[in-house]
Amino acid sequence: MIRVEKLSVNYGAIKALSDVSFNATPGLITAVLGANGAGKTTLLRTISGLVTPRSGNVFLDDRSLLKTAAEDIARMGVGHVPEGRGVIAEMTVDENLRLGALASKINIAEGLEAQYQQFPVLGDRRKQYASTLSGGERQMLAMSRALIAQPKVLLLDEPSLGLAPLVTSELMKSIRSLCESKQLTVILVEQNAKSALKIAHDAVVLHLGTVVASGPANEVAANDNLRRYYLGLVQ
């Protein structure tokens, strides 16, 4: 489980996060919602060790991650698909996936086979450079690269960004089914609140670096004030 406790992050004089606390329940999807600049990406980057917080703490199964380097957090089973996907364009699909497998002790050949079965399109394009993939395929590759290491926790940063509505809906469904089949703990950062709330179990709403609401996703989705003022769901 991931537990975030009173997390505050500053970029110089700018407060990116103030006293953010929440739990991501094991095996469930926690959506982190909010407008641009709410601090969603900073939150994920702090959890995975890329950003050092000013105060507060992050726990993975009751172990503090505060002094742990990003590469070690990855090796502890936290997969992070960054904003913009982070696919390495100059490498082939196969190489991107092999790279993902290095963080774990799995058999690489078996891991690759499992991913190609789960995402057949990637199997067809395994020798192609990632730069030749479409937006949806790149997102698939980024997810697959995180999943091959069999993480306990998956952090997804705006996976729907730049994808067509139909592709987004397919993607969200596959996130939900992955979470259920692999008992994955997912923290899903999204601007697209409507899509995220459809598949999330819990939701946290951020505004200018602070938590303005948190709770079961259906309750957040039903709250008119939240929908209107923070999620942009009521016209």
Binding site: S48, G49, L50, A69, A70, E71, D72, A74, R75, H80, P82, G84, R85, G86, V87, I88, A89, E90, M91, E95, R98, L99, G100, L102, A103, S104, Y129, A130, S131, R138, R145, A149
Partner: protein
């Protein structure tokens, strides 16, 4: 066949290639560092020269030639790793001019220290193979066992580096650390360690080039890599700093151009051939011969 190999044309081809592979090795070592840390290592030649001194002076103490080569490469690699860790790492994220200034200063320090320890007198290192050129009916073929060794060793090193980058887990991590350091960290790659290894690898390749030069007719002296470094740098710029293949091609091209200018134009113009090639390359293909433009941010 023999007559063809002894022709003037092939004379120049062999001469150009023998010189070109050395430039290629130096260029390759520069490109490895450039790719992984975006630092142009102006002390690359001096570092390799120092490593060669440490290894090759052992020859005088009864250690065999090949052991001395191994010592030079190992010392070179250690030197590269320590330099990255101590001098370069504090400069990551600082303006790009900082590491350049530091490495130019370091170049002077290494050459002065080397002269202080071993004096500036040229040392002749015995070549491991005969340097007498082959002949065909009394006409020289510009190939000797040593030249063949020099070319074969350089090709062997290049193939080794290419295979390491392409087919090994270490190579995959080195490339990831260079192309997308942050993404690499998120995938568990120890990026700082990879950068150190990149510098070690590069310094090892540089040491091989310095050993070849010192073992030939050139001899070993504190500034013997300065000219070769400039040529290697031009080769890397011509081939494209982003491309190991380009560095190798650039080195061979420069060696050949130099040789043909020497033969068909004028020996006094030959030293300028690097500059001529660089100007032409920058006008025709400024990004380098082999650099592909790839949209990196996806």
């Amino acid at each position: 066949m023999g007559a063809f190999l002894a022709s003037n044309f092939m004379h120049n081809i062999f001469g150009g290639l023998a010189q070109g592979v050395i430039y290629s090795l130096v260029a390759l070592s520069l490109v490895i560092i450039w790719q992984s840390t975006h630092v142009l290592n102006f002390a690359q030649g001096a570092m390799a020269m120092f490593a060669t001194y440490v290894g090759l002076t052992e020859i005088g103490r009864g250690v065999g030639y090949w052991w001395c080569v191994i010592i030079s490469v190992v010392v070179g690699m250690a030197f590269g790793g320590i330099t990255e860790r101590v001098l370069i790492r504090p400069l990551y994220g600082k303006p790009e001019i900082n590491p350049i200034v530091v490495m130019v200063g370091f170049l002077g320090v290494i050459e002065a220290v080397t002269a202080g320890i071993w004096t500036s007198t040229t040392r002749n290192i015995p070549a491991p193979f005969s340097q007498i050129y082959y002949q065909y009916r009394g006409r020289l073929i510009l190939l000797s066992p040593f030249v063949i060794f020099q070319i074969a060793l350089a090709i062997g090193i290049m193939l080794f580096v290419a295979a390491l980058f392409r087919y090994t887990k270490l190579g995959l991590q080195l490339r990831a650390a260079a192309l997308a350091p942050e993404v690499a960290r998120l995938l568990g790659v120890r990026v700082h360690r990879m950068l150190t290894i990149g510098w070690m690898l590069s310094a090892g390749v540089g040491a091989v080039a310095a050993v070849i030069i010192a073992s030939g007719n050139f001899g070993l002296f504190p500034t013997d890599m300065d000219g070769v470094f400039v040529a290697g740098f031009i080769a890397a710029a011509v081939g494209g700093l982003e491309s190991p293949m380009g560095a190798i091609a650039g080195g061979l091209l420069l060696g050949l151009v130099e040789q043909f200018i020497l033969a068909y134009w004028s020996p006094s113009v030959a030293p300028l051939s690097g500059v001529i090639l660089l100007v032409v390359a920058l006008m025709v293909r400024p990004q380098g011969i082999f650099t592909r433009s790839v949209n990196r941010r996806v």
